[in-house]
Symmetry: C2
């Protein structure tokens, strides 16, 4: 049987954080056309792509839309027109009125496949703008691959990727906005997550400066054998990776991690009273 594959494109971009969603959607359409021409079935844009990330509480609230709001409807048109699935970050206005750091996966037919709200908020930067998401684990089908979404800091927590792997994920899509000096995430953490879960991890970062933040690029696709099968530099760039179901199956025969877990011993991991590091005076 021929291997089943999925070609994905990660769009490492500064976006247009000083402008509104319409300008970024124009840019998204051009990128989608390019990715589709390169044979990709999925284009991944960074965290908070539609609005910019370090924009402050008021701008985030002002730009926030419901998951299926006007920006989504425009993205759905782009997906349909170019026949490519799209994932990107945006500020979501929840039905509860709260603002979330969210990401959406739009199918090539324009349907909303997944909407995810960042669960692991990063420092005051996130906490000053967003309410935390309350769910990890939803998946959607993209060709022969089961896919889930995380956002940026989520992927640094092994529990988050494991949760998606246990739900059956083959590919974890991670829009991100990672800044210097956090290079170890691309070079170490992403390939480790892919290896320890026998999944692909697609980590699409911003570049350029936004206020005090200096985004580091280094978008990457961690493969199940524990190496980055694609890795960007530090500038504006689109990288393409070919995901292979055969490679996933081979990795799962080599490392039988999920079957060898001891969930009966992991109760303390889910205990909200679990300890934190103490810092000596």
């Amino acid at each position: 049987m021929a291997d089943e594959t999925l070609r994905i494109a990660l769009w490492q971009t500064a976006g247009d954080p000083g402008n509104d969603a319409a300008a970024n959607l124009d840019r998204l359409e051009a990128a989608a056309a390019g990715a589709a021409a390169a044979g990709a079935g999925l284009l991944v844009a960074p965290e908070m792509f539609l609005s910019g990330y370090a924009i402050g509480r008021e701008a985030a609230a002002r730009g926030a839309e419901p998951a299926e709001g006007p920006a989504f409807r425009r993205a759905a048109q782009i997906a349909r027109r170019h026949g490519i699935a799209l994932a990107y970050g945006y500020p979501e206005r929840g039905g509860d009125g709260a603002v979330y750091n969210a990401a959406v996966l739009v199918g090539a037919d324009g349907t909303l496949l997944l909407n995810y709200r960042k669960t692991h908020l990063f420092a005051e930067l996130d906490r000053s703008m967003f309410a935390p998401g309350q769910e990890i684990g939803r998946l959607a089908q993209l060709g022969a691959f089961r896919v889930g979404l995380l956002i940026c800091y989520d992927v640094e927590h092994p529990e988050a990727v494991r949760s998606l792997a246990l739900a059956g994920a083959d590919l974890v899509i991670v829009p991100t906005a990672n800044m210097k000096p956090h290079e170890r995430v691309s070079h170490l953490v992403v390939p480790a997550r892919a290896f320890e879960n026998s999944v692909y991890v697609a980590y699409a970062n911003r570049v350029g400066r936004e206020g005090a933040l200096d985004y580091l690029g280094l978008s990457c696709v961690g493969g199940p054998s524990g190496v980055n099968v694609a890795l960007a530099g530090e500038g504006e760039e689109m990288i393409v990776a070919e995901l292979s179901r055969g490679a996933l199956e081979a990795a799962r025969r080599f490392n039988t991690y999920l079957a060898d877990r001891r969930p009966d011993l992991y109760g303390p991991l889910a205990n909200a009273a679990s300890a934190r590091h103490t810092t000596a005076a």
Copy 2:
């Protein structure tokens, strides 16, 4: 305030798997003397050091001793004589009659600080010889550092190291017997575990051949900044690393992972009915 440090030695050795514990204890004494002369406060020997690892069910059962049996008493004498703590693997005969793949930490004063039974058994190799351990999370104090034990395959499971970090570990000691082609454990997994938990991980491997197994060496000490602060080659060798409490504290200010966890969302990790990868036909 001056930094508090602990110098540790990892003894990468083939041991003497064709012989009994007495021969290996003689070798341990010589290594302990060398490590103490190098200023180390702890010497770590590989998994199943006293007996050899791939020795089969009958030999493992024949060589098994209680945690404080004759071999331990001899090791305690060695520790006292050279003023150095010792960690090593051995086959344990439990009070329940079962045989465990165990490791012990002996204080420099000869006291039993920790006894640990491998919880994540590796393939038929382990399962044909050993019962699984039922506990992760005990710690002991070694100088300024809180230390815990894991064995080999345990460290490849993020849940195992996380469990010790949540209990307050600064250093995770991992006697191992890792064979080709599993090099990614030393190059990727150990530094990732150290990074994602802001701990040191000391991974002491065997070398040489035992039956069909070709041990790969590459003993290493993963540091909290996500790099191996010491890494051995592929032959018989002792490597030394200086652990720094100041480096731990700095890493914990840089990455506030434990404080930023979402244990309220991690219930599925501890659910024994959680999914496994399915392999396509």
